[in-house]
Symmetry: C4
């Protein structure tokens, strides 16, 4: 019985390594889209404006990178609390990685067709599914008692992990709904939410505080 | 002697890391094929139908992802039971990875020439070889007594690992033979088999049950 | 409290694995640019000159590889001294990886527009930001007492890590300023600085010496 | 002093992870070259001959995969015997990885210009440098006493590692020299040498035997 737990513990390491590989590729996929232009230029100013013409691709890359950073962290936190793992969780994680590797596509699609609601809703749909799969990941692991926390510490962290996902997804939904007013408003709101999660990280400290 | 086992144990970690790398790339190779179309569109409906036109590539991606998930799991389970490893197993694993990295090609080939038996048989051939190499991996490791299981637990898990591969391959063969009736029937059957292995995972629980 | 440190310790492993993945891809991105020409040739001499025509791409690849090797080492050394990690450091590391994955672009941009100051300043800007983010990584970790060194050993290694970054960045700045005399002079100087850091590694030994 | 060894030990893990990443990418780079043809076909036979027309690319891929497997194993064995590591070894390893990532290029170059001696000598040059850098890796580590073997076991394994590289490189040189008789003879000989190292692995058993 102890032996089996050890083996399963090792499997978490495998899913972590596979995730790091898929994220590493997904994180750099959109860079591949930024090709150095081979147009001849005749002055510094011309080269500068050529570079500026690439800025939508850089913005798109930055947005995609930030979103993936958020979900990489989200998955990493959950995995760091798990003491064991099973095949259902593995397939949940694989489906999560499938959605991660689609993110560069939906981001580029949004970058190409910014003025259309469909492009925005597709992008939002990708983020929604990522959140949903991640929520089910935690939900299933809690139910099966795979979380390596004693009865005292569990409720606090359980609540922190769940509410983080729910609040983020409510904000994304609100952002998505804004597209019925104007698509750019919707985009701006979603980007602000992501900037908040990337730069003003609150949940990490939150768990620590509640523990004291 | 103990020292040598330690060193060999480390090598399993290396083959696991290399496998995770190759799988991570193979898992995302077909995403690279899904390019954002740069055609001008004039309405939401037009954009939606443009997106729908990409659906065969998404299906092909999903199929390839699922197949690779199945074989990643299959290899992970075997590696998790091994206490040592040698060069013959390493080359078996490398050949396995070669077949893994060919899977995006044979999947895309099938996606391009769906109506031809040859495309289907090529795809099946790839899956057959993956199963065969994985079977030999376990076969060799059992014979050399590289499996980290005592005499009591070994037969149950040995049988579970072997029968899983054999049953799956018999089903794939049946699917492949259906192509002499109709290629699409054959494809549908193989996809169903893979959906079954991805979503109704039975072997994990099976091992657990037989242990009790 | 001890439990939390264990979990956080694991997270350093994740950021290391993600970094290795991103670096591995970034290290090989510029190789993808070196395509085998498909022009017909009629003699050994013609093939040789065809190969020589690719040499700027090989040089560009070598330069990019060397720069990335330097920053990979720089990050690896910092991470190897850390006993714990938090979300702020994780986002610092993610931003570092974003800059790493932009390096193949700025290098190729410089390779394409060698005679322009703007291309050189863009490349320098990338290196400057890499250095800055890495400096802040150490700065933050020291302030939060995340460094796994006792009070005796800390000052020596702290000084070595900081001065390494500062001296390198001063040299890069000097190189960048040379572009107002001539762009090629500037490039040559920066390449020499990088060759020095790649081949005449002094900081590793420096730390050892000061300890004795 | 013990603390420093621990930190350095961790660095071997980093170089292993980076190597696995670069090898995983290099192993799959040539697959990216095998594009599914989009030509319309009208019969099974036509599709089969279209597939056959891709066979030089498959052979080239197989050759490159095999060569990389050999060097991945070679490096893995050396790393598995090392107890510590320094910056000079790290840069040796980085240069090794640079040569690894060039291998898909030199292989494809040989595949494109098979009838020219220059293409074959370039390919051989890549293999020669890989062997040389790997030899220096071991040479430096032995001199610095980084090898985790006691005085009794060291000479046997030291001799096995060195002679493996030297014999292989002598065989490759012999193969390369054959190109002055005929390029195809040279290629065939080198492929046979690599097939031998991939399938009839002798050094692993060799070490074991000498130990008894």
């Amino acid at each position: 019985m102890i032996r089996y737990n050890d083996l399963a513990g090792k499997k978490i390491g495998r899913i972590e390594a596979l995730s790091d590989g898929v994220f590493a590729i997904a994180l750099t996929l959109l860079v591949l889209e930024i090709k150095v232009p081979e147009r001849p230029v005749h002055s510094e100013a011309e080269l500068f404006s050529l570079f500026l013409s690439l800025s939508p691709k850089f913005l798109s890359y930055f947005l995609s990178f930030m979103t993936m950073g958020i979900f990489w962290n989200g998955q990493a936190v959950q995995l760091s609390y798990m003491k064991t793992y099973d095949r259902n969780l593995t397939w949940n994680a694989l489906f999560f990685l499938l959605l991660v590797s689609l993110l560069p596509f939906t981001t580029a699609f949004l970058g190409q067709y910014t003025q259309y609601r469909f492009a925005l809703l597709l992008y939002w749909c990708n983020i929604l599914l990522l959140g949903l799969v991640l929520y089910l990941h935690w939900q299933y692991a809690s139910k099966k008692q795979f979380i390596a926390l004693d009865a005292g510490a569990f409720p606090t962290i359980d609540k922190a992990v769940r509410s983080r996902i729910v609040i983020a997804q409510v904000l994304y939904l609100a952002g998505a709904l804004l597209c019925f007013i104007h698509v750019y408003l919707s985009m701006a709101f979603i980007i602000l939410v992501q900037l908040n999660y990337a730069f003003a990280i609150i949940s990490g400290k939150g768990i620590q505080k509640k523990k004291d």
